[in-house]
């Protein structure tokens, strides 16, 4: 199955792209996907502890199982406001 991985702010800059199409086996969890992304982009590794994960615009835990077509977002700590 395929999912879309969205990257923002620092993560987008490190990876050099805001969106990646990622092919996964059925049953893959968000946590497993993140491990695969970190393996491919090792400069993200230092940020892993502060990463928030969202699927289809909702925060999820790493053990959530992904589905075909999901939009997975890797979110750095937010800093809205002024």
């Amino acid at each position: 199955m395929q999912v879309q991985v969205r990257l923002f702010a620092t993560y987008r800059e490190i990876v050099g792209a805001g969106q990646l199409a990622w092919t996964l086996r059925d049953g893959t969890t968000v946590g497993q996907l993140v491990e695969a992304v970190l393996a491919k982009y090792p400069r993200l590794v230092g940020h892993g502890n502060h990463m928030l994960l969202a699927v289809n615009h909702e925060v999820v835990r790493p053990d959530s199982v992904l589905m075909e077509g999901d939009e997975v977002a890797l979110l750095p700590p937010v800093s809205g406001g002024a």
């Binding site: 615009h57 979110l75 800093s79 002024a82």
Partner: protein, 135 residues
């Protein structure tokens, strides 16, 4: 009114959007870009569908938690210059204590959970002038 927009924020429109005949108090928060020798503007990036969803949920929670009657939040994206408002949040309630509490809480939540990120846009002055800053 929940908006993520590039345009300047119309404060009066945000206030008007929360007015109700049964509201005795409206509290408005404006977050502005502060001047700093190293900063000429802030660039805001947003994960828009998630930000809109988070803001909508946040407004509902403010109504339940504090009895707020209406709440509007407008956040800018893109470049906001020094002195510009990045965010305007307005909350109407029957009485002022509820309006203050809901507005302050909601603004903390905006900074805690809404997927918006800022980066500093430095001065256009040549690098040689930047050494003047007192550490």
């Amino acid at each position: 009114m929940i908006e993520i927009q590039r345009a300047r924020i119309d404060i009066k429109a945000v206030v008007s959007s929360v007015r109700r005949d049964d509201a005795g108090a409206i509290v408005v928060f404006l977050g502005s870009v502060r001047s700093d020798p190293e900063v000429q503007a802030l660039d805001y990036e947003v994960y828009k569908p998630m930000a809109l969803r988070t803001l909508t949920e946040l407004v509902e929670r403010a109504k339940e938690k504090f009895g707020a009657l209406e709440m509007s939040i407008v956040h800018r994206v893109g470049r906001v210059p020094v002195g510009g408002d990045s965010v305007v949040l307005a909350c109407a309630a029957a009485h002022r204590s509820e309006a203050f509490a809901a507005c302050a809480w909601a603004m903390d939540e905006v900074k805690r959970i809404v997927p918006i990120w800022k980066t500093e846009a430095g001065p256009r002055t040549p690098r040689s002038r930047r050494g003047r800053k007192v550490p």
